[in-house]
């Protein structure tokens, strides 16, 4: 089973019924798997903060939701995560590509790589990194932690997990 299928399976175990997404190329295969799942309402958005607010609204409808995006998109959402989710203690579960890592050889991702984790720490947002296929089984625990902590929770996908070992 490929990584996207394993993550999808774990999200289904969590009872996820709505997903809101804006792709980068690392999370695109997972997004398309979810989009093909008739048991999950998939919402394509035009800006990542829409996904945050859609998942927050879904919380009040009693529906478990996930927002999927790239690391650059996460950086654009910090105002909404603070003034909606922190202010009201609304949990929102995010799956985000961990761009700008040492094996992500893309110059336009480098700035995000050095600043994303310190930014989350400054906001006191919990996060967890999935780096190996076996790590994927931690998703239900991460989702439950998000609910208990009543905050945004970021689950990062590394390059090694979603693309394999870098060769150049």
């Amino acid at each position: 089973m490929d990584v996207a299928a394993r993550i999808h399976e774990q999200l289904s175990k969590c009872g996820i019924k709505l997903a809101a997404s804006l792709p980068d190329d690392w999370v695109a295969p997972l997004i398309e798997r979810i989009a093909a799942d008739n048991h999950i309402r998939h919402v394509r958005v035009a800006r990542e903060a829409e996904a945050i607010a859609i998942c927050s609204g879904a919380f009040f409808g009693g529906v478990r939701a996930v927002a999927l995006m790239g690391a650059t998109g996460l950086l654009t959402c910090t105002g909404e995560l603070a003034t909606l989710n922190l202010r009201h203690q609304i949990p929102v579960f995010l799956i985000v590509s961990q761009r700008g890592s040492i094996d992500d050889h893309r110059i336009y991702q480098e700035v995000q790589g050095r600043r994303t984790i310190p930014l989350l720490q400054a906001y006191d947002f919990p996060y967890h990194i999935l780096d190996r296929p076996d790590d994927v089984s931690a998703i239900p625990d991460a989702f439950e932690t998000c609910r208990m902590q009543k905050r945004p929770f970021v689950l990062f996908l590394t390059r090694r997990l979603v693309k394999g070992e870098a060769t150049a």
Partner: protein
């Protein structure tokens, strides 16, 4: 028409609709008219009441959901119209109070100085139904048809700008209390589980 008049008229036709209000004037006027706890009043995330309302409407298809938006908030996230049109939630109605100013901060003018036709933008984004209403009598006359139509539908209410900081005061609770009052109200009304057995 005055914003308060339009909101009071809207509130009289509310029925069992669940409301999501953009921060500032829209939230304050809806609170003044309804004092309702089964409404969510945004205190931040300007522009994203629309997305919140869409997420709620998709998750609670048995409930009519009303978005009480304002022109300042709509302009901060015009892309919401694309998403709303694409999802085509039949239970979602979108109202926009359009006064042309940032009223809550003292009535400073907005970027577009009255040049923009939001209903036309919504139609171009894929809304099958969108209109602009200029007068209270016209709004009252059109309300039965608006109430009877399926979403996605946008109704822009052209209202007078009113000066004075926080002329209509905000709701008397905020933060986590807003979350729990709103969530518990929805649990009671719809028999859903927003919070788990241990309260989170």
């Amino acid at each position: 028409m005055r914003a308060g008049e339009a909101i009071y008229l809207l509130a009289r036709h509310r029925g069992d609709a669940v409301a999501v209000c953009a921060l500032g004037m829209a939230a304050n006027e809806w609170w003044a008219a309804t004092k309702s706890e089964d409404s969510f009043y945004m205190h931040g995330a300007m522009g994203f009441a629309a997305s919140f309302a869409l997420g709620l409407a998709l998750s609670l298809p048995q409930a009519p959901v009303w978005l009480i938006n304002a022109d300042g908030s709509l302009c901060m996230n015009l892309g919401c119209l694309l998403t709303e049109a694409s999802q085509a939630a039949r239970n979602l109605k979108h109202f926009v109070l359009d006064n042309g100013v940032y009223q809550t901060v003292g009535g400073l003018p907005m970027v577009n100085d009255g040049r923009t036709d939001y209903a036309a933008i919504a139609r171009a984004a894929g809304f099958p139904r969108a209109r602009t209403i200029e007068a209270l009598a016209e709004f009252e006359w059109q309300l039965p048809a608006i109430m009877g139509e399926d979403g996605p539908a946008l109704t822009v209410l052209r209202v007078d700008p009113e000066m004075g900081f926080l002329r209509t005061p905000p709701m008397t609770y905020e933060g986590p209390e807003m979350k729990y009052r709103f969530g518990r109200a929805l649990e009671r009304r719809f028999g859903i589980e927003v919070f788990g057995p241990q309260g989170y």
